[in-house]
Symmetry: D2
Subunit: 182 residues, 4 copies
Amino acid sequence: MKKEETIRILITGGTIDKEYDPLTGELTFSRSHLSNMLNQVRCKIRVILEEVMLKDSLRMMNEDREEILKKCIHCLENKIIITHGTDTMVETARMLGNNAKGKTIVLIGAMIPYAFGASDALFNLGCAFSAVQALEQGVYITMNGKIFHWDNVRKNKESGEFEELPHQGIRSPGGESENQQI
Amino acid sequence: MKKEETIRILITGGTIDKEYDPLTGELTFSRSHLSNMLNQVRCKIRVILEEVMLKDSLRMMNEDREEILKKCIHCLENKIIITHGTDTMVETARMLGNNAKGKTIVLIGAMIPYAFGASDALFNLGCAFSAVQALEQGVYITMNGKIFHWDNVRKNKESGEFEELPHQGIRSPGGESENQQI
Amino acid sequence: MKKEETIRILITGGTIDKEYDPLTGELTFSRSHLSNMLNQVRCKIRVILEEVMLKDSLRMMNEDREEILKKCIHCLENKIIITHGTDTMVETARMLGNNAKGKTIVLIGAMIPYAFGASDALFNLGCAFSAVQALEQGVYITMNGKIFHWDNVRKNKESGEFEELPHQGIRSPGGESENQQI
Amino acid sequence: MKKEETIRILITGGTIDKEYDPLTGELTFSRSHLSNMLNQVRCKIRVILEEVMLKDSLRMMNEDREEILKKCIHCLENKIIITHGTDTMVETARMLGNNAKGKTIVLIGAMIPYAFGASDALFNLGCAFSAVQALEQGVYITMNGKIFHWDNVRKNKESGEFEELPHQGIRSPGGESENQQI
């Protein structure tokens, strides 16, 4: 355990922050719940909350990912948690994994909004907190209680679960697989 | 990330598993909620749940801690999470730290029961899951979003928060401090 | 207080019974929560639960309303609660008001699903329970803490609230207003 | 349905307003949740909230009941809801029934605090809202989905449920029973 470091949380939206709009019957964003979540769980670590955007990750464009990357690179902190929609979380993780070096970055989201009953949001946030403190530099996703390296994870759209990539007997010498030697 | 290993969760009671008894108006234990918690958060890691006891940690005796120690030593798993009351969690962690070698053991609890509103239980459980997977051998407590080594933590009874021991300029050559060289 | 009578609850769907589907991110029906709700609130009155349909009330057709009417007329009970989507609740109430005589019928719904946080479902259900026991024969809606007679209520789509019809100094001799002489 | 009248809610404490104190592990009062409850359920009826006291009803003394009685008699409203601990709710109802004439007064409480999971508080509050609007003058308790007249109710301490008094073949001509001719 090194000396306690401040953690920066970059908020980008996703199911974790969605709310039910009783007038339209649809899920929407109004404001992030991260601050309430941290109060509820009695988090006492130094945290900087930064709302970068509040987007459904299916609507994230390349420029959104560029903005997230810039925030990661330019902030002073070396430990970063990113809240993110699950649908394209792997894509953002890959982009960060290839470009944001020298920091520990953990992406999380939720399958059920924090504001609803029976959400997985607080558990996933807890997973991210320990992971960002305990893991060495790199880009990770913590979902379903597991820790995934950015280049060895996919979302199974049928089950809604994150899982490791299928094992390949022999790795090709190029492409993504070269990053899997962790 | 090494190959995924099964995590054993030893349930010992504490606030995390307490319920409100509407007939007596008191907090009691009926059964552990850990199984429900893991379902709610969509945990997909292999977990073995073992209910060792359901006790308020103020009522834990030496023989209870001995039993927990035995479970830690004799189980096949090398990654162990222990749910525990917060009042004597540090005491159990110290006993395990001195006696249970060669495994990664993480103790957690909650300040508000899982069954109540606004609980910190799921967050703390998430912290334990990543910690037990990412940390090297040793005994740890994850509370308030922080990771504590067993020999550098106390519960502040006034704030209800876990904190590191006050820093000492020069360490005495004997006693507990010899374990702090982490 | 007359002798306690059995209450029949006709379940027709609506927001009160909707759930969040984490795979599609949409609101859906899987099963009614009324049984769970009655357990939670420790209801000890004799109740018969009948699931007539699980529909968004915007998708209710005339034949659906005919079916609800038949259930009201042919059941043995004289006290009936109907759970219903709010969007066309007034329409169903009007149809029942014109055709189901001799019983006390109370329609309710919710603006936020029971399964979500901060729902109005249990309160509305409570309003219906007392209303159906205390009111004389007729068809009523209990929403927003108010009791409305079926021919003097509308849903304000902008506020999402139920309200009485605007007062008219002189009532026209025909049309709906002839039912308003309550 | 007569013209809508303002409802006065007298808050006296009881389980409905209790909270869990994480530092002591005990149930305590800090502030009433009634205002939050009314917001959550989208109540749109005119309500005056008055916090008379925040007491466990086992600790209520005669002077507390006198104070509640005075509030009932002297307030302008004719429709009054009283939130109250369940243990001595029947006692307060009896005192009010004998002394507060000319108003509709409904007492409610909860077996599980509003602030906890799976509470009956909102349902009971809904029961009170319709009862106070629909019932004629008198003093009532609405618990477990039932409406009880003040002189025909007791709390079954074993089941925690409110129930009517056991039926007596012949009623004595005097005393409380004269009020049972409802």
